[in-house]
């Protein structure tokens, strides 16, 4: 068997306005991705439709998706941990993991949108402290620790879920010390090489104490042929990120330069492959997770992008689909 990486896609469940169809389309995208041989699908969490993300409840949607798929891993990319009640999250994640036969990959992050923190009655400035506290409580519960004076524990227990936690943060040494996976994405404020350095620091800090190997999920947007609508989506995204102080880099006049700065893969397939080869190298424990939609991308275009990845891009990077059992070769 090859030591290939895992191939995934990320949906931010974007839509310019809400209609229930955005959830049905996401379910459909998971089904198509599974048929194409993708190893994982990830959904992002957004509260109050921050940046047009329409899904505040990734575990609820993934429970529906689990009934429509059999094999594909179900990831959260990411859940905003400071805004969650940690024990409720541990319960919901465990139930979903049992419903999906152990397919959950639990990605966590600290969040960034100050308006949503205010709505939850939390201070945006305290989010890293809250993140650490909630993470400790989550690990405690998943680790079967007693939670009451009478010794009650989390129920149900999902075997191995504690080893499928991922963190999206630049504090990579902490992630390594905790034995968790690292989710990394392009940083518009740093040169593209910074990602390679980040992964190196993470791998160097790995202790292996929990008996698992270090693992990296590299998340990147891939828009094969950005059209005028995509361009508007991306410009609106940058303006919004700028207005809340998250995007501090210059705004480029040239759209191509904007795409490069944001790390959005685009253009001819050969160029995309070359850019992916420049990133951190991916081993058998790592995931390459590609986001193929902006706010207004129709489902058929997202499916087309997954097909291009499946047929032309991933194989050039050394990935092959896992053949279904019973397939003749």
């Amino acid at each position: 068997m090859s030591s290939r990486f895992s191939l995934g896609f990320l949906s931010r469940v974007y839509s310019p306005g809400f209609e229930p169809k955005v959830y049905r389309d996401t379910v459909e995208l998971f089904k198509v991705a599974e048929e194409l041989g993708f190893d994982s699908g990830w959904v992002a969490q957004h509260h109050f439709a921050s940046e047009n993300g329409r899904l505040p409840s990734p575990l609820v949607l993934l429970a529906a998706i689990a009934q429509r798929t059999r094999r594909i891993s179900l990831g959260t990319g990411i859940i905003v941990l400071p805004q969650e009640a940690p024990l409720r999250l541990a319960e919901d994640a465990s139930v979903l993991d049992l419903l999906s036969n152990g397919r959950l990959e639990l990605g966590l992050g600290a969040g960034f949108d100050p308006d949503t923190f205010t709505a939850f009655g939390r201070e945006p400035e305290a989010r890293h402290r809250d993140y650490e506290q909630h993470l400790q409580q989550l690990i405690h519960a998943l680790g079967n620790a007693p939670l009451t004076d009478s010794g009650s524990r989390l129920l149900p227990r999902a075997a191995g879920l504690g080893q499928r936690i991922w963190e999206a943060t630049s504090r990579v040494e902490r992630v390594a010390e905790r034995g968790h996976g690292l989710i990394m994405a392009p940083n518009p404020h740093l040169p593209p090489e910074a990602g390679v350095e980040l992964v190196k620091r993470y791998r160097n800090a790995w202790t292996g104490d929990n008996g698992t190997p270090p693992r990296v999920t590299r998340v990147q947007a891939l828009i094969p042929n950005p059209d005028a609508a995509t361009r508007n989506d991306i410009q609106a995204y940058v303006q919004r990120q700028q207005s809340i102080g998250v995007y501090k880099a210059p705004v480029d006049d040239d759209f191509d330069a904007t795409l490069r700065r944001l790390g959005i893969l685009h253009g001819p397939v050969e160029q995309i492959i070359e850019q992916l080869q420049q990133g951190p190298s991916l081993t058998a424990n790592d995931h390459l997770v590609l986001q193929v939609q902006t706010a207004s991308t129709p489902l058929r275009e997202a499916i087309r992008a997954l097909e291009i990845i499946r047929e032309q891009i991933a194989p050039a990077l050394g990935w092959q689909p896992t053949l279904p059992q019973g397939t003749l070769t």
Binding site: F18, P20, Y23, V27, H46, H47, F48, A49, R54, L55, P56, S57, L59, V60, L61, A63, A64, A66, Q67, R68, Q83, E84, A85, L87, R88, E91, D92, S94, V95, L96, L98, L99, D115, T116, T118, A119, F120, G121, L147, T148, D149, S150, S152, R153, L154, L155, P156
Partner: protein, 328 residues
């Protein structure tokens, strides 16, 4: 008078994964039998007997396997929930299921041991309940949580705020439910139908003032039909005996008596379908009040085959005799 017919599961069982598979199958079978709804109780941590802390996650799976049946919670322990996260999860499930959610809420009176684990004070549970319930309701109505924030719920919850239910054990609680315009759930096993439940129902109806929608009462009843009375009792004996020490400890019964008497005290309608029909017709707080009759058909040691059989007998033989008209 007609009513909706539902069933309620506490998700008993040894292996949670199997319990969840069985629950999904119960919804599929109930839908095929014409049931209007299925309701799931939320139970937290390992000290209880129910195996499901996340009814909305499980109901999302059920939603993909069914088309019509309503998806109820009976009940969610509201003091343990963040109101925004609960409103979001319920609204996502409602969008996924085509508007099938019935959201039952409670204050956690049966979960007193677990409050500390969730960082809550059991003494404050009624205050937490009404705070959280009002916030959830505002969010579902599309209102912002002012002055805190001007943001409104996403996804918007079309109509879900008119599908909220409360479970209360006091007359004040029943009147409060009416003041909020919500449905009332009755029927804890230890609430006597005549001396406790009937006054609650009356207090609720007397306090109802809204003109834009009618009051609604859901009544939960343990219904265990079998070929005959002896057969039904044989299926229940182990579980009833298991409860006796707890009921005595909690002061709900004075002393252990015979099985018949325990079944009567716990208001378990059982026996041949004709006996069950007669017994339900005599229940003083059921048919005179119920807009939704919600059957509990699972005891702790019930098998899946027994559960599915009871659902079938209720839908085919019992509910029609009480005036139920199933979905066309």
């Amino acid at each position: 008078m007609s009513f909706k017919l539902g069933f309620l599961s506490h998700a008993f069982g040894d292996d949670p994964q199997q319990v969840y598979r069985d629950l999904i199958e119960q919804f599929e079978v109930a839908e095929a039998l014409g049931f209007d709804g299925g309701w799931i109780a939320q139970h937290h941590l390992s000290n209880g007997f129910g195996r499901l802390p996340s009814p909305l996650v499980l109901l999302a799976a059920v939603a993909e396997r069914t088309r019509h049946i309503e998806l109820g919670t009976g009940v969610i322990v509201l003091p343990f929930e963040d109101p925004i996260r609960l409103a979001e999860d319920a609204s996502v499930l409602d969008a996924l299921s085509g508007g099938r959610v019935q959201l039952g809420l409670g204050s956690g009176g049966a979960n007193l041991d677990n409050f500390s684990a969730f960082g809550r004070d059991a003494v404050q549970r009624q205050v937490d309940f009404s705070d959280h319930q009002q916030q959830v309701q505002q969010l579902l109505d599309g209102e912002a949580l002012m002055p805190h924030s001007a943001l409104t719920l996403q996804p918007p919850a079309t109509g879900l705020s008119s599908r909220l239910w409360h479970s209360h054990g006091s007359l004040e609680g029943a009147a409060y439910t009416a003041s909020q315009g919500n449905g009332l759930l009755l029927g804890t096993a230890t609430h006597d139908p005549l001396t406790v439940q009937k006054p609650l129902a009356d207090a609720y109806l007397n306090a109802w003032t809204r003109t834009d929608r009618p009051p609604k009462i859901g009544v939960v009843r343990a219904i265990f039909p079998a070929a005959d009375r002896a057969g039904a009792q044989a299926e229940l004996a182990v579980d009833i005996e298991r409860h006796i020490p707890r009921l005595q400890r909690e002061g709900l019964i004075d002393q252990a008596v015979d099985l018949q008497e325990h079944l009567r005290l716990m208001n378990v309608h059982h026996g041949h379908p004709d006996e069950v029909i007669a017994s339900l017709q005599q229940d003083p707080s059921l048919l005179p009040y119920a807009d939704y009759v919600i059957a509990v058909v699972q005891a702790e040691s019930s098998t899946q085959a027994q559960i599915l059989k009871r659902l079938e007998i209720i839908a085919r033989d019992i509910a029609p005799a009480l005036g139920w008209r199933g979905r066309e």
